[in-house]
């Protein structure tokens, strides 16, 4: 009972830190997955009098990833009841070429504007439709989301520091006396602090295992899957090798650092 209580406080602090880190990672992944999604659904339409090949189109900007020509036939087909076929052929000839540009990534508003201007500089291009209004609001939402995440990570950092400091004080109180007494009987520092380091390492392992169980459970949970499919993204929620390695590394680093600080700060009482 006594030993469980000894472990409890640091394990709780560590698990909450690991939880924040993993949540932050998941949100980061969601944002980039979402951005990719946006990039693939976003496109620019170019209207040109002359035909432009893909290479030329790409030379306007490195942003251009894919160029596809839009076939005007199906638009014309809708008109064909009212117009006689002869005029239709004529119409077809006078119709400009339509191109749809896919971009390499979700562009910033300036990138969109630059690309539009570049395209319009070419004589044959008469119109560029960039859906800038829609694009702007989506982009602003994304920026806002990123800011929220930045604030979140900052507050996570502050809370982490506070938790660690609190833990440091508890530990100092718990271990100082024993370390002093062992020192008075001639124990070298590695011996008198051995218990401390063992406790730190054991707690880090416990916290890592708890986080592993927690996130493995969450990643298979129906609710989480449902939420992600609502947003329309697919991400790795918890990588059982890489993420676990990072989390246990952080836990080990923090708790050993804690133990080191206590050993360094340890003074023999007179």
């Amino acid at each position: 009972m006594k030993s469980i209580r000894n472990h409890f406080s640091l394990v709780v602090a560590l698990v909450s830190i690991l939880f924040s880190i993993q949540v932050f990672t998941i949100i980061e992944r969601s944002i980039s997955a979402y951005k990719e999604n946006l990039a693939s659904s976003y496109s620019i339409i170019v209207v040109s009098q002359l035909s432009i090949d893909e290479k030329t189109m790409k030379s306007f900007s490195s942003l251009v990833d894919e160029v596809s020509e839009l076939n005007p036939d199906h638009v014309i087909q809708r008109l064909n009841t009212k117009i006689d076929p002869k005029n239709l052929e004529l119409l077809k000839l006078t119709l400009p070429n339509f191109y749809k540009l896919k971009l390499t990534h979700f562009p910033t508003p300036t990138e969109v504007e630059n690309l539009t201007n570049n395209l319009l500089n070419k004589k044959s291009i008469t119109k560029v439709e960039n859906f800038s209004h829609n694009h702007d609001s989506t982009f602003k939402l994304l920026l806002l989301f990123k800011d929220v995440i930045a604030v979140f990570s900052l507050s996570m950092f502050v809370v982490t520091i506070l938790l660690i400091i609190k833990e440091l004080k508890i530990w100092q109180f718990m271990h100082n006396e024993r370390m002093s007494i062992m020192g008075l009987f001639g124990a070298p520092i590695w011996l008198s602090s051995a218990v401390l380091f063992r406790l730190a390492i054991v707690d880090a392992i416990i916290a890592s295992i708890l986080s592993f169980i927690l996130f493995t459970y969450l990643s298979t949970s129906f609710w989480v899957e449902e939420q992600l499919s609502y947003i329309g993204i697919e991400i790795i929620f918890f990588d059982q090798v890489m993420d676990f390695a990072i989390l246990s590394g952080v836990a080990l680093f923090l708790s050993v650092l804690l133990a080191l600080l206590i050993v360094i700060g340890h003074k023999e009482e007179v």
Partner: protein, 223 residues
């Protein structure tokens, strides 16, 4: 005869503005049994602290077991302490360890084998009449019982020097008798040098002893 302790013009203080022990000179021969008396607050515990190196001399020189305390390195001091057995006035037992493990502490630090350790601890527990309490934690014992644990711990590694700060302060006559027997035994059988701070020297001492008295920052021998 070897001298275990040599103090020359030794002054001790906790701060610059108050001197507790002022330029004292005394020495203790190896194998001696010494009592130190003095009024409360006279500096008895302070003197003991300097003997195990927790308080460095403010002035003068103090040599314990051949080691100059004012210049000793941390590792040399640890080495010296591993050969001293201390009974602290406030016991200083490790709360989260059992009685048995507390008594083992000096043996663990000195790297004794497990079976030696166990035998020694069992025999000491018997001597201080605490065999049945060995699995308990210090806070589950009475003050006098804790004091006897502290005594057993100080003796466990057969130190060459025992420093005991009022080791019978909380004990009835019977338990105090057990403690005096243990200290006398260590002194006569193992030739351990024993220094005991006390308010009353037992009338039934069977061995020769020296008696120092501390007063107004000075020390003098009482005959």
């Amino acid at each position: 005869m070897d001298r275990v302790i040599i103090a020359e013009d030794l002054s001790l203080s906790y701060s610059d503005d108050e001197t507790i022990i002022n330029k004292i000179n005394f020495s203790v021969n190896s194998g001696c049994f010494v009592f130190i008396t003095g009024a409360s607050g006279s500096g008895k515990s302070t003197l003991l602290k300097s003997l195990y190196g927790a308080l460095k001399p403010a002035q003068g020189s103090l040599v314990v077991g051949g080691v100059e305390i004012s210049k000793v390195s941390k590792s040399k001091l640890n080495f010296l302490r591993r050969h001293i057995g201390i009974v602290f006035q406030d016991y200083k037992l490790i709360k989260e360890w059992t009685i048995e493990k507390n008594i083992m502490l000096p043996l663990i630090i000195n790297g004794y084998e497990k079976n030696v350790t166990q035998n020694q601890v069992d025999s000491l527990l018997k001597h201080v009449r605490l065999k049945h309490q060995s699995g308990k934690y210090p806070l589950e014992l009475s003050g006098g019982e804790q004091q006897r644990v502290a005594m057993a711990r100080a003796l466990s590694h057969n130190p060459i020097l025992i420093l005991a700060d009022e080791p019978t302060g909380n004990l009835d006559d019977y338990s105090a008798g057990l403690i005096w027997n243990l200290l006398e035994g260590a002194n006569t059988q193992l030739k351990t040098t024993v220094i005991v701070v006390t308010h009353n020297i037992p009338e039934t001492m069977n061995i020769d002893y020296k008696h120092f008295h501390i007063e107004y920052g000075s020390i003098h021998e009482v005959n």
